[in-house]
């Protein structure tokens, strides 16, 4: 990519060889476990337990997945995670824009102080217990709101959005709009937001993935099974033998139970990561863009 040259010196040829070996190594280290998980989840339990499965399925079957799709808890978790992610992300975007736009206006009196107020919460966070007590006092424990409100604004994302508004919307355009008598609400909704679709897409992705993958908050704030997120259900299934045994019982005779539990674990991992991995190729390039905007100096 950098500076092309027609004849390659010996030194550089060695570099290219080493470079490719390095990349191959990176590729294998990352891909091998993922492939192994996928392959193990569709192999026969006995082959798996004998350690024969590496990168190709042995005794291909989908029994484990058939069990998973009959697990009520997993399906509830799936549904809840989708709901929390959608609702949470909408709240995130609205709140982040409402904060980012005013903070991007240069002659907004109090801008500096307000920015400081936001940034301070990024570098100083209240301990766990006062945070928990607060959520409890607000009556949010074991409700969807404990999942979507406490993290309504990520200050990091707020700064990305504010920086974007500042850098990409020309001042002359804003001035012209003001001279035409447009007020701030009008400028924000009719001028700034339509020009900021790319950054909004990036923020949606950042927030949505964070919601989908979060575990700890759901673990401490949710207590009823009907409200659990997918991550909590996955964790419970993988760490408690009972849940897996119940699933394994339905498929095989007792002698093979331990082996079936192993296959189920792999299948649960695949099942859990499927939505994000499936969307991944489509969203990947937006993430890269987000990182670049984020690393810009404002």
């Amino acid at each position: 990519m950098n500076g092309k040259k027609k004849t390659i010196s010996r030194e550089n040829r060695i570099f290219y060889i080493c470079n490719n070996i390095l990349l191959l190594l990176a590729f294998v280290i990352v891909a091998a476990p993922l492939i192994n998980v996928l392959v193990s989840s569709v192999s026969s339990p006995s082959a798996l337990i004998r350690g024969q499965v590496t990168f190709w399925p042995i005794g291909f079957n989908l029994d484990a997945y058939k069990q998973i799709f009959q697990s009520r808890l997993l399906l509830i978790g799936y549904k809840n995670s989708i709901v929390y992610t959608v609702v949470g992300t909408i709240i995130n975007i609205v709140m982040t824009v409402l904060a980012a736009y005013p903070l991007s206006v240069k002659d907004f009196v109090g801008r500096k102080a307000l920015t400081g107020l936001f940034v301070f919460t990024m570098i100083f966070t209240a301990p766990l217990i006062p945070t928990y007590i607060n959520i409890e006092q607000l009556g949010l424990v074991d409700t969807i709101w404990a999942m979507v409100l406490p993290g309504a604004i990520s200050v990091y994302n707020l700064i990305i959005a504010r920086t974007f508004f500042q850098n990409t919307i020309p001042d002359e355009m804003l001035e012209a709009a003001r001279l035409d008598g447009a007020d701030d609400i009008c400028i924000m909704t009719r001028l700034v937001l339509p020009l900021s679709k790319s950054i909004l897409a990036v923020l949606v992705l950042y927030y949505a993935v964070a919601h989908w993958n979060t575990y700890f908050d759901a673990y401490i704030y949710l207590s009823s099974e009907e409200k659990f997120t997918l991550q909590v259900v996955l964790r419970n299934i993988m760490s408690t033998a009972a849940a897996l045994q119940e699933m394994a019982d339905a498929t095989v005779d007792q002698s093979n139970r331990a082996a079936m539990i192993e296959v189920l674990k792999y299948a649960v991992i695949v099942f859990g990561s499927l939505p994000v991995i499936a969307l991944y190729p489509a969203v990947q390039k937006h993430f890269v863009k987000g990182v670049m905007i984020g690393s810009l100096k404002g």
């Binding site: 010196s9 990349l23 993935v209």
Partner: protein, 315 residues
């Protein structure tokens, strides 16, 4: 990172007219930002004020403002307890290990990707290495447990090579290593993107000039690329140092088991255990507050140092 509050252009008071006029001109902005400010107060500053229970004996009936004031008692108890040195050493050990091991792989990967000659191969590697970032911590730990279980693939390989099976996830000594290298696995591709964008910003004429002068790729990396990604590396290091104390609950908690608790018990998990599980609200808050304050001091200090040395800073 974004600089906070730089007034490029418009010198603050230039616009004639009084403060009142300037405020009135943008009255709608205050309306717009009202909701976020309320959010900030209710969900961020209220718990910070609530942290005063670290200096009280909190009980549910008397509440945050009414419980008996005990001053620094809880802090003293913590500093004198045997757990203090244990969780502090575990926290710092894990964080520093994580920073030291984690800083180079993304830089190396970014450099390797920027000199790859086949575009498709480069894109493939980037896409694959970036993928684990999207897998949730719960599942990363699930994969880790499966790969390194006693009967898992890694142990199968070890045995095939004539070695003894190792109980990776149960050995206290191996906990930090498992944590750090699974983090490298998950984060390297993501962190590399930041360096890739920094490398893309390097003036291509520098590379061309160096090539004309007969510089090898190694020399170009050493004298052009490395200096130009230093500021990025410094910022990431600052952020990492600021988080030395506040290593998160999530991953450690997910990896913790009865066997490795001796080395896996860090401040965050201790705060969680004695607070939410042990119901010692005030004591847990005191430890958490100690953690937050030290983090704040660290972040401000490291930032000031880097500002002086490098003219790179977070704010």
């Amino acid at each position: 990172m974004a600089k906070i509050g730089n007034h490029s252009g418009a010198p603050a008071a230039k616009a004639a007219g009084s403060l009142k006029k300037r405020i009135m001109r943008h009255w709608q902005l205050y309306l717009i930002i009202l909701l976020p400010v309320i959010y900030l107060i209710v969900f961020k500053y209220k718990p910070i004020i609530g942290s005063q229970i670290a200096f009280r004996n909190y009980n549910f009936r008397d509440g945050i403002w009414g419980s008996a004031w005990v001053g620094l008692n809880h802090f003293v108890t913590f500093f004198k307890s045997p757990q203090f040195s244990r969780v502090l050493i575990n926290t710092l050990g894990l964080s520093i290990y994580n920073i030291v091991v984690g800083i180079f792989p993304p830089i190396i990967l970014a450099l390797a990707l920027s000199y790859v000659r086949s575009r498709i191969w480069g894109k493939t590697v980037q896409m694959v290495t970036y993928m684990p970032y999207f897998i949730s911590t719960v599942l990363v730990i699930g994969i880790l447990n499966q790969m390194f279980s006693l009967s898992g693939p890694v142990n199968n390989i070890i045995e095939a090579l004539g070695g003894e099976r190792v109980h990776f996830m149960g050995k206290p000594k191996l906990f930090k290593t498992m944590y750090v290298f699974s983090d490298v696995w998950k984060m390297t591709g993501y962190n590399a993107v930041i360096y890739i964008s920094a490398l893309a910003a390097v003036d291509q004429q520098l590379h061309e000039a160096a090539t004309v002068d007969g510089a090898s790729i190694w020399q170009r990396i050493r004298h052009i690329d490395i200096p130009s990604i230093m500021p990025t590396a410094v910022i990431l290091l600052i952020m990492a140092c600021g988080k030395v104390m506040s290593l998160g609950y999530e991953k450690v908690l997910l990896m913790q088991n009865d066997l490795n608790v001796q080395t896996s018990d860090i401040i965050s998990t201790y705060v969680y255990r004695i607070g939410l599980q042990g119901m010692q609200y005030s004591y847990s808050t005191a430890i958490g507050l100690f953690q937050s304050v030290v983090s704040l001091i660290l972040l401000v200090t490291v930032n000031a140092i880097s500002k002086k040395l490098n003219e790179t800073s977070l704010w």
